[in-house]
């Protein structure tokens, strides 16, 4: 078989037309997921069973099921309920984009909360004691001592999750969304040339992942100043 370079050159600009949607999926779900993760984290750290337990069950379910299944349940499943169709959330759930963002946020929130929890638990207990001995309240210790260090510790794992989320956005194409993946599938349906089209798409995704990795590398370097002996 031959590799049709012209087809590649033609399809790349078309697929890049979906960049906006892909970025929107990534950024909006990333931020919403992070917000959800922080809420779940605080629930888990509260040591109150009525907060900790629901958070644990939630994380267990979201991590235990495929994200594609979650997207389908939300997109195909929820509209079957009359009360959902008559609720205030319907304008969002009616749209594939709303469903995709909801599913991605709910999914990444579960993972990220565990990443953040690992960071918090890894902070040296002695630092909390030092804060307490200085008269600082638990709240102060959490905000000024634990959180900044936990963020530094959790950052590499978190950047991993963002990269993973970026690639999960491609699943949104299964519910009619014309992100880069969705456009690629349309091109393949027209041209019967999956090889050229998907290889080109893979290259685009790699470029994006590289950008995310570089950005996080920079943040890690900035936040890690205090870990370097010579400035």
């Amino acid at each position: 078989m031959s590799f049709d370079i012209n087809l590649t050159l033609e399809s790349i600009p078309r697929m890049l037309g979906g960049v906006g949607i892909t970025l929107q999926l990534l950024v909006v779900s990333g931020l919403l997921g992070l917000g959800l993760a922080i809420i779940l984290l605080l629930m888990r750290l509260s040591k109150k069973p009525y907060l900790d337990w629901p958070a644990q069950v939630y994380i267990y379910v979201m991590r235990g099921t495929p994200i594609l299944v979650q997207i389908f349940i939300i997109y195909y499943g929820l509209p079957q309920f009359d009360w959902i169709r008559s609720s205030v959330f319907w304008p969002i759930l009616r749209e594939p984009m709303g469903c995709a963002i909801l599913a991605l946020s709910l999914n990444t929130g579960a993972y990220v909360s565990e990443i953040l929890r690992g960071g918090v638990l890894a902070v040296d207990q002695g630092l909390s004691e030092a804060g307490a001995a200085l008269g600082m309240s638990k709240r102060h210790v959490f905000i000024y001592v634990k959180t900044p260090i936990a963020i530094r510790i959790a950052l590499p794992a978190y950047s991993n999750d963002v990269i993973s989320l970026q690639k999960s956005t491609a699943l949104a194409s299964t519910i009619t969304i014309a992100d880069m993946m969705g456009i690629a599938r349309n091109i393949v349906a027209e041209t019967y040339a999956p090889y050229e089209v998907f290889v080109s798409l893979a290259i685009i995704y790699i470029i994006f992942s590289t950008g995310i990795q570089k950005a996080f590398g920079l943040i890690e370097w900035r936040l890690g100043r205090y870990e370097r002996r010579n400035g």
Partner: protein, 249 residues
Amino acid sequence: MDSAEMPLIEIQQVDKFFGRFQALKQINLEVRKGERIVVCGPSGSGKSTLIRCINRLEAHDSGSIVIDGTELNDKVANIDAVRSEVGMVFQSFNLFPHMTILRNLTIAQRLVRKTPKNEADKVAMHYLERVKIPEQAHKYPIQLSGGQQQRVAIARALCMRPKIMLFDEPTSALDPEMINEVLDVMVDLAREGMTMICVTHEMGFARSVADRVIFMDEGEIVEAAPPAQFFENPENERTRTFLSQILTH
């Protein structure tokens, strides 16, 4: 009783358990203002637990601990009051690694005492000069030697103007050549009349500075005596064994 004679620290019949393990057994101890106590004993004897009970890093299970008239119990207000009078220095320094030295010294002043920034900075620089490292103010802890970090930790505690200073094996994590620079700061502090309880095995320090040396074993205070008597004529067999073990070299 005259308030000058009232003990600053009053510990009565204190027990402390970790699960089934009894870390402190019926501890009684009174410390007057300005007194310098050295606590020694084998590892696991309860000496760290004892001083950690004094600022409620550990909660005692029975008996009473009264610090400068405030009883330590579950009341947060009481705990806060005691912690604002009691400074502590840890074996592993426990400086906040993500803050500069200056910020390490000002954070609690600003959050707990609500001291304005420039005043907190002044206090911090004052104590950094006292521990002889003002030039390190804008560095991060990792950029300092162990001895310097421990001096910063002492300065950090002093910034809160405590009435009592607790030292939990402050030189145990240091390389030998750095021990003296930390002990020197502690000796200065003792000379100025600070009430101190030091868990340490630096017997030279105990001899020259302590008013009383306390030996603990298996959660009990086995012996408490002025250093001359403690080192020359220990009454208890366990004290003699311990001293012979650590003073052989």
